[in-house]
Point group: C2
Chain length 312, copies 2
Amino acid sequence: MNVLVTGGAGFIGSHLVDCLADRGDNVTVFDNMSSGRIDFLSHHGDKVRLIEGDLLDLDAVKNAMEGVDLVFHLAANPDIRLGTRITDTDLKQGTVATYNVLEAMRVCGVEKIAFSSSSVVYGEASEMPTPESYGPLFPISLYGASKLGSEALITSWVGTFGLKAWLFRFANIVGTRGTHGVIFDFIHKLKADSSRLEVLGNGRQEKSYMEVIDCARAMVHLTEKTSQSVNCFNLGTHDTCSVRRIAEIVVEETGFKHVNIEYTGGDRGWAGDVPKTMLDPNKLYSTGFTPRYNSEESIRHTAKALIEEIGL
Amino acid sequence: MNVLVTGGAGFIGSHLVDCLADRGDNVTVFDNMSSGRIDFLSHHGDKVRLIEGDLLDLDAVKNAMEGVDLVFHLAANPDIRLGTRITDTDLKQGTVATYNVLEAMRVCGVEKIAFSSSSVVYGEASEMPTPESYGPLFPISLYGASKLGSEALITSWVGTFGLKAWLFRFANIVGTRGTHGVIFDFIHKLKADSSRLEVLGNGRQEKSYMEVIDCARAMVHLTEKTSQSVNCFNLGTHDTCSVRRIAEIVVEETGFKHVNIEYTGGDRGWAGDVPKTMLDPNKLYSTGFTPRYNSEESIRHTAKALIEEIGL
């Protein structure tokens, strides 16, 4: 199968590329290399083609669609907090980029898209664990708005132009090659000063985590096993982990003995942060997929791996 | 109160301006006059200020925000079907325009926005009557995607920058000054040829209708009576009316005796059309508001009025 992966040189994208290459697909990566890294793909040699380009350049996106059977659209602004400073970041790199992917697909006759949405579309959900059918959808971050805006564009392309789509609403995805996120940040802070660890908020924020290879395998699995016109799945685990517990696990894994964990206070890490998310993953599980790690195991596995990657 | 109404020279917007002017507000209209008409506002004389401008011009939007207490953001592409031919129409005139309104509000310190969303955000809902809490939200038209994308931007501005918002999910709104829509189309067809009326689809599409002055009054009422951070309401009536019934009512009101009503067939009027919508209006009704007309009464009232406006 000919597969195009936008954001395929990034954290989650490159793990997906590994899964697709293992399956024997012809994989093309489209990435602007803003947070993607060539060494996340280099082990594939010539077997994976990399197009360095910008999704806001519609002609470039159209050119990349030649002969493609399935698009995994994972590219997005990776820095959620940036969106509150430069407020059109997520609109452009999320919603408008998704429009360009869809429009290029329509023009080039490509019929299947799988999209990395997020649990942030649920906003501050009143129902937890939160199922895919939850409403109303009131995202509170600009990143979340771009994910819901992109989902809506995709379902409208399904309804209007006959596409088939998979919407994957990710829990917090963690693992090797991570280039941002709470574990990554904690390790960098401890590397700079092993006597203290500053945690944004009161540490009681509590979220579902999924290990990145589990996430990549789940995406491939679902595009093989489900075939509605719109296939929407939470990708996560049954449990949650608090930021407080993550800080403890990271400190344990560093081996540092006298770290003072300090909390800046408040119930959010930043404006637009959702204090608690807990996804209902039963729809995913019902398709025969089980992740290897739960939330806490994913955190510990990731802490070990990133400490090795980053070095202390 | 200083109120800015985007799209205020249009069909629904101009009726809203009438209500706000009656209340004694200082009203400024921002409209690109693509479907708005100066004579929908001229009876206000100098009491309503008109800024002719484009919401895609962020500086112009910022200039219009000076001293504003509340924004009613109603401007949008009025021609849903156009969106399937020029596929970035709704993205730009819907989602991106809403971003500019929000960004201008943020920069200028304006804190309240009321937005004309639509029942199309529900897509082909499995639950009818459809309540505001319905999920998942999979709109099937590009217009619907732009409405959900705009809602998401608004709730993200609430969550990130502390705005207060009203989201009004409109039923099909009909009434005087209508410039498009099924009744308008039928009258124009009958004016051209009183012997036959061609109806797109099989005529069994069935939707909730609300009369435009009821709609305008409901918007003003809700901004006065509700004050959550996000106030989301269906604006509609308890019943529905089929396209078949609308055709009959319009023919009756023309007085033409020998009209052959012909159906093109198929369960949709066009790609992206939702065959059946029925909103649950109980949340609106629970605030003490009751529309003057139900769906069928709204249709008949509108047919009479538009026949008079258009002339046969």
